[in-house]
Homo-oligomer: 428 residues x 2
């Protein structure tokens, strides 16, 4: 049987894992896909570099176009990253009838609709399971597993770096800066950690998940993102005392066809399954009208987990080829996108205030909430030895974001309120 | 566009859920599957019975053959249960070119290979996502999501009734009999609970999961099953003290192509994600050579969760029909089944002994382990106020089952050992 020929763009961590699996599992992959799979060309930056795996030198090239234009390549596996230039290469590959498997969340979050549109026109597959939550097959789960249900909420711990940092801060009572430095030394965080710690990476993944879950073309600009760089060890300690863990959650919600998507550090109740997801692990919690609560847990990154998802996609492309249905099982968003206004976005909130420690202040504070029709679940006043101010922790009932913003604005103008130390969304 | 016509066998809990979803989500289902889906005939036991949903009376029939033989039915949805007679109906439906969606674990565990074989011959789909772990799409995950990996271990909490009972026993320190009675009153346990509490239901589900995960035709008789009816509140309390929860786990393992599958109450370490799966929830933990640890969590039963999986399968059948690939995406086991011997099955173990409280007994006990080359992780001797015997709790390192059986046999013949109170496998 004629082998399916793969052009591999990138031989970094994930690319190396892909070579290991394709070469190591030849027999299994053929049994499952129906054809032998052969990596025929590999794009590298430097052909002469030493590598941890053996690859025959005549497969290597330093030119992506060598691979895109080769008639000897059926499927492109893109694990090199990049956005604009990579997009051009992918569109050119589709123009030449090549299928695509990619692990590139940035590409799919920013240019997914354009690429998928071109693929449909050309009868090609584009698969991207590895772009979100590395080893967890969450994309097929949303497309196939929940095709019959109406998903109303997706909450994801989809960034391993920030989950590692928050877990360490929680378990060791350590400060953000110290843990970040340690994570950088261990290779869990980049030397410029902005994309991870400010929530931008998670926002890209949530763009992809929300598009699939809500069947509408969500744009990255629809996602509001707030990172963890302002999370203090005090916040974590207070949260813990009240029964919460701080997690960087991506939250996509739908109510009556209106959608909101955000990424922010969130107080997650200990009894919620996401609260126990620790270290570099990822998890995606999906709530469906019919199915109720589900959660999918696994490694979010790493050579072999991510390569597993890439090669599973490759198997699916080969199965489709053998059935003659490439480009015909794609996901097509069929709903109009309607975003929630701030009046429609609602959640519980955790607020930590520093206020003057004198009679009547608490009454003033609670009066502000009442005035904006935000009702309170609990109020905790805490003496603070180190300064003459009182600390007040408030947990609200569900309140809309517009009202909450008005409450906070009013606090800013009150002389009795010295600082709004922190505000978190609360889940669970 | 011509609607796909469904013959629904059974209008109990799950059947009612299927009708609700198919009728309530018409537009969404059509957008995703490409065709309208219509339930054209429904098998009921008694046409005159009052129901919680409205169904037009001319769709109802009391004869399964009415549906199987109807040229007006394209897909059979079987949610009535039963084994031998149901198998005959399913084979007859396949002979007539009808596709099958079933939630019937008993049918698939006992007759899966025969039914799938016939389906392949006839170019028909047989889908059974709802047969294991109700709302969790674990079957597609094993077939598609992990197609590139080598799965070495599947551990499942796949029976909600027993997980409810064990959770209650753990959280309230209650005795088995009392919690079982309560579960029966709440409808979580059958009046004859044997199939659930003795592990037979879980064994059937593990037969299906192991077949998919290991690509070999596993038979129900390959699964050893032990239930929870002998689990005492003392066992649970001791486990907790040492950092374990007792869970009824189905465990399917593979090592060098040798497989073992069992169901038994197991001490699961608190840090393991399965330890936190409580109440009637189900979870399946999958370990793959490449991906590492993953876990899939959700409702294991119930009208709407199970119906979600049934209708997702129905959508998949309709998609396949529209692509003309029915019966060609099926799962085909391609590996020879080789079962592990007792010498090859290995695990850590928890053993609780009642022994004579006198000098030298502990030395005798540990001597027995040494003699059979079972090394020990910890030994805890516990004074017991209520009787003149000492309690000894031993946790072994990994030990093979044959050696463990020899150890236990030798204890039985020792006068110093008054009782082997309990033996559990240990995981995590």
């Amino acid at each position: 049987m004629k082998p399916v020929k793969v052009g591999l763009l990138g031989l970094g961590t994930v690319g190396t894992g892909v070579v290991r699996i394709v070469e190591g599992h030849q027999h299994d992959l053929m049994s499952q896909s129906g054809s032998p799979i052969e990596i025929s060309k590999i794009l590298v930056k430097d052909k002469s570099k030493a590598r941890s795996i053996h690859v025959s030198e005549d497969k290597l090239t330093e030119s992506a176009w060598d691979i895109i234009e080769s008639p000897d390549v059926d499927v492109i596996v893109e694990v090199m990253g990049g956005i604009e230039q990579t997009k051009e290469l992918m569109l050119a590959a589709l123009d030449r009838g090549k299928h695509i498997v990619t692990a590139n969340k940035d590409l799919m979050a920013l240019h997914g609709p354009e690429i998928l549109q071109k693929a449909a026109e050309k009868g090609c597959d584009v698969m991207y399971e590895a772009s979100v939550a590395g080893g967890i097959p969450i994309i097929r789960t949303l497309i196939e597993g929940f095709s019959s249900d109406r998903i109303t909420k997706i909450m994801g711990i989809v960034n391993g770096t920030t989950n590692y940092i928050l877990t360490k801060m929680s378990q060791e009572g350590a400060a953000y800066d110290d843990v970040l430095k340690e994570a950088q030394q261990l290779g869990y965080a980049e030397s410029d950690p902005t994309s991870d710690v400010e929530g931008f990476d998670a926002a890209r993944k949530m763009t992809i998940l929300a598009t699939l879950g809500f069947h509408a073309n969500i744009a990255l600009s629809d996602v509001t993102a707030k990172g963890i760089s302002k999370v203090s060890k005090e916040d974590i300690a207070y949260g813990k005392k009240l029964g919460y863990e701080v997690k960087l959650l991506g939250i996509a919600e739908r109510q009556d066809e209106h959608i909101s998507i955000s990424v922010q550090p969130t107080m997650v109740k200990h009894s919620h399954p996401l609260a126990a997801v620790n270290g570099v692990f990822n998890a995606v919690y999906v709530y469906g009208e019919a199915v109720g609560e589900t959660m999918f847990y696994g490694p979010g990154a790493g050579e072999m987990p991510t390569a597993t998802s890439v090669v599973a996609d490759l198997v699916a492309v080969v199965r489709n080829s053998n059935l003659g249905v490439n480009g015909r099982r794609g996901f097509v968003p069929y709903k109009e996108k309607k975003l929630k206004t701030d009046e429609q976005i609602s959640s519980k909130n955790f607020i930590l205030l520093h206020v003057e420690d004198k009679a009547g202040v608490l009454a003033q504070i609670t009066q502000v909430f009442a005035q904006h029709e935000v009702s309170l679940e609990s109020v905790l006043q805490h003496p603070n030895q180190s300064n003459p101010l009182a600390e007040i922790i408030i947990i609200t009932h569900d309140a809309n974001k517009a009202s909450m913003n008005n409450v906070l604005k009013q606090f800013e103008s009150m002389s009795a309120v010295h600082a709004i130390k922190s505000v978190y969304r609360v889940e669970g």
